[in-house]
Amino acid sequence: MYQTDQYEGMIAETVSMRGHNGDTINAYVARPLGAGPFPGMVVIHHAPGWDEWYRECTRRFAHHGYVAISPNLYFRDGHGTPEDVGAKVRAAGGAPDARVLGDLDGANAWLRSQPYVSRKVGIFGTCSGGRQAFLAGCRLKGLDAVVDLWGGRVVQSKEELTPAQPVAPIDYTKDLSSPILGLFGNEDKSPTPEQVNQHEAELKKHGKPYEFHRYDGAGHGFFYYDRPAYRQEQAMDGWKKVWAFLERTLR
């Protein structure tokens, strides 16, 4: 917890970075002032878009001493308001996993090329971003912590697989290369408590370090203060769990 007499400042801005296939995309970066080195965090926006909640979330990580980068995963889908662009991607059935992974890998590389970033980088996502954070932890190299908040469709039936999302992330669990924190609401429909149990069983089976917390009285998206899903008590406890986990894994 910061003290009232300490100096504090941050820089927050949009930057360009190299993403999937070497494409240039934009990203929002927030970092504490100072030489660091600070741990890095890749912040994956949720399916509704690269929106204000994610701007604030990125700055929140900087406020807690991390260099945070949130790549615009919908860069190639056109520009406009986050809602209009998000609606376009929703209609297309979501962003393709391969492209997302390429962009997240690029965000990690961007962080690691900055002189003020330490050698530790974690990844955080909510909703579809939680799923993508887990996927990244399994498929990419160089991530030291994964935070999966109510990532739906980690468990997918064959009927749910699409050309854009051809493999259920749970099938990659054996390749997970870092500790994972998962936070879930017991009233969520995606993922359901049963799917969370399935995911946990798979992590156990492969001996992966994990920490799952399930909240009663919460459903999907219980951190989103701008939606009726917000649950103050569970959200504040959840944030504490996030900071404690990252302190342990990235500092």
Binding site: G78, G80, A87, Q165
Partner: protein, 103 residues
């Protein structure tokens, strides 16, 4: 947005977004997270024109019950028009060039 249940249908029509009308070419129908309706999931319809960019969009977010009533009502209105012999099932012709929209 975790259902990813979405379908697109080609349509011919016009939509109004702000003060301007634009040519609607597609309707995107999804059952997923809405942006404004205070529900976790909703039946969302976006009337769009992909050629004009993401800003060419008229959006509605409906409860399941509201969506079902709407479907029945559309069918009923079309049937009534057909019965009265006033239904003109003809394609739109001579569409004007799509206007650019502000985003």
């Amino acid at each position: 947005m975790c259902t990813m249940i979405a379908h697109q249908v080609k349509v011919e029509g016009r939509g109004k977004s702000g003060p301007e009308w634009f040519e609607v070419r597609e309707a995107n129908v999804s059952y997923d997270h809405p942006y404004d309706l205070p529900l976790e999931h909703a039946l969302n319809i976006d009337f769009v024109n992909e050629a004009l960019g993401p800003g060419a969009r008229v959006a509605v977010e409906l409860s399941v019950e509201g969506a079902r009533r709407l479907v029945k009502t559309i069918e009923a209105v079309l049937a009534q028009a057909d019965q009265r012999g006033v239904l003109q099932d003809v394609p739109v012709v001579a569409s004007p060039a799509p206007r650019p929209t502000t985003e």
